[in-house]
């Protein structure tokens, strides 16, 4: 089993969700994060003082999926999340030893 983690631009989430839906991905978990990288933040002023905000709001999407599909999932995300501008984000994949559905206790693929 694999865990696909994607850090994307907030505005792209809708597109990514659609793409995964099309792939038949049953579920996913998202959370808010702040990114730091090539994409620079912005500047704010407060009574004459300037502040540079280095962190950029991003959305982290996590999907547990099986060995075979994960490449499809990755491609779907990368395509849907791409705007071509700096800051589009990263996707990384890690191995999952086991996954359980709390409601039923089912394990492995049945839990997805």
């Amino acid at each position: 089993m694999k865990l696909v983690t994607a850090v994307i631009k907030p505005y792209q989430l809708d597109a990514v969700k659609e793409a995964l839906h099309a792939l038949g991905v049953a579920g996913l978990t998202v959370s808010e994060v702040q990114g730091y990288g090539r994409q620079k933040g912005h500047t704010e002023v407060y009574r004459g003082a300037e502040y540079t905000v280095e962190f950029v709001p991003k959305i982290r999407v996590e999907i547990v999926t099986d060995e075979l599909d994960f490449e499809k999932v990755v491609d779907a995300i990368v395509t849907a999340a791409r705007t071509g501008k700096i800051g589009d984000g990263k996707v990384w994949v890690t191995s999952v030893d086991e996954v359980i559905r709390v409601r039923t206790g089912e394990r492995g693929l049945d839990a997805l």
Binding site: D14, V30, E44, P57
Partner: protein
């Protein structure tokens, strides 16, 4: 009603603005209660106040005012409905209220705002679990069966007034004891919130609590000093007493917290202000400023302790309507039995037919009368509130389902939620949070769907 006197401009101007001030108190209360509540029920909390403004105002125009200030009927238990029919217009030169020189409509609206907030006060006891339809039924019934007649009995020259000549300058008995007793009744019927008292149910927005208290304080000057109806020395007395008693109550409540919890809180300071305002309400025009300071101090201390009673007795008076309004109302009402002073306000004797308090040589008579009037109102309000709530709960249902309560009443009863500033400050960095930017607040439905593309000149 007494014979008419000529129209008086400054009295009228003062009562007009006082009315606006008292009207502002209900949105202020909504903010105060809303902030004290958990975030998942803030809208329902505020909605109960806003709906009172809407519902009670209309009821008042059509029959409430007559029931409260119409001519005696039913042995003084209420006023004649035919006294001021909402369909008749009162704009003649002579349509002035008593000897004040104020148009009837101005007095009618002033008193309307009192009815509105008294009902709204009750809602604090039943946060996060009351069906909105149930609340509206309750508001309608309680106002009709309790507030309107009680106001007649205390202020409209009704039975209680004739029997006991109680002193209640701006509503310690008619408003606060009345609402507090009702709050206890309905809270007992609805029962405790799920998880109470084990779980933390802290205020979700303390600045709102403080701002709400500030708006209430501001509006209360209209409530108290406005109740003199005219502009004179007593108006000034009621005003300064309101200010100093409230200030002292803030100190009193904070002091208790400092000693008991080792930490003074802003919620405490705000609550102390309300406690002081409640306690001074019946007394503001009848006692000396130094006695007002003392009263405020006592009210602040006692109410700060009283709000813990609900834990001991295990009733979930969610936002402490009983601990603050019921207890504070009683303190102020009894205080008059000790400190009422005809030298400060001769109307005590001339108009109300009451007497000096115990400490001013009047003996215990007035104290007894104050207690009697307050006790009657307490029972009257509690019994009917409990009964009404019980019937509503057994029929249309008053309490929401457990699932609804866990998910949050704002979503389940009102299909909306208080805030959508998800992760404001996006990492303290200031930009709005990722979720908000992602616009995943759901996608619009039908109305949107049927929307054809419109030409945008700018696009």
């Amino acid at each position: 009603m007494p014979e008419p006197t000529p129209f008086n401009g400054s009295n009228t101007a003062w009562l007009l603005i006082s009315t606006a001030l008292v009207l502002l108190m209900t949105p202020g209360l909504a903010l105060f209660y809303g902030g004290l509540n958990r975030s998942k029920g803030v809208l329902n909390m505020m909605m109960m106040s806003f709906s009172s403004i809407g519902l009670i105002s209309v009821m008042w125009l059509f029959y409430g005012f007559s029931m409260s200030f119409g001519e005696d009927t039913a042995g003084g238990l209420m006023g004649k409905l035919s006294s001021f029919p909402g369909t008749k217009t009162f704009l003649a030169e002579t349509d002035l209220w008593g000897t004040t020189g104020i148009p009837v409509y101005v007095f009618m609206t002033f008193q309307m705002t009192f009815a509105v907030i008294t009902v709204a006060l009750i809602s604090g006891a039943i946060s996060d679990r009351a069906k909105f339809a149930g609340w509206l039924l309750f508001a309608f019934g309680w106002a009709t069966l309790v507030y309107f007649p009680v106001a007649h009995n205390v202020w409209g020259g009704g039975w209680i007034f004739q029997q006991f000549h109680p002193l209640d300058f701006a509503g310690g008995t008619a408003v606060h004891i009345n609402a507090g007793a009702a709050a206890l009744g309905v809270a007992l019927v609805l029962g405790k919130r799920i998880g109470w008292p084990r779980e933390s149910m802290k205020p979700h927005n303390v600045p709102f609590v403080a701002l709400g208290a500030g708006l209430l304080w501001f509006g209360w000057f209209g409530f108290n000093a406005g109740s003199e109806l005219t502009v004179d020395g007593v108006t000034g007395l009621a005003f300064i007493n309101t200010q100093v008693a409230t200030a002292a109550a803030v100190l009193g409540w904070v002091l208790v917290e400092w000693i008991r919890d080792r930490k003074p809180t802003l919620v405490g300071a705000s609550s102390g202000a309300i406690a002081g305002l409640v306690a001074i309400t019946p007394a503001c025009g009848f006692i000396d400023p130094w006695a007002a300071v003392l009263l405020g101090l006592v009210a602040g201390v006692v109410c700060a302790l009283a709000v813990s009673l609900k834990y001991r007795f295990g009733f979930d008076d969610s936002l402490d309507v009983v601990g603050v309004h019921f207890v504070g109302g009683w303190i102020g009402t009894l205080w008059l039995g000790f400190f009422a002073n005809t030298k400060a306000n001769s109307a005590i004797e001339s108009a109300v037919g009451a007497q000096d308090g115990l400490f001013f040589g009047g003996g215990a008579t007035q104290l007894g009368r104050q207690a009697a009037a307050a006790a009657i109102v307490t029972v009257w309000s509690f019994v009917i509130a409990f009964g009404l709530a019980w019937i509503i709960n057994k029929t249309v249902g008053f309490r929401v389902s457990t699932d609804a309560e866990v998910e949050g009443i704002d979503i389940t009863e009102h299909a909306e939620s208080g805030y959508d500033l998800h992760n404001p400050g996006g990492g303290g960095g200031g930009s709005t949070g990722a979720f908000a930017l992602a616009g995943i607040g759901g996608s619009a439905s039908a109305p949107a769907a049927q929307a054809p593309a419109s030409e945008s000149v700018a696009g």
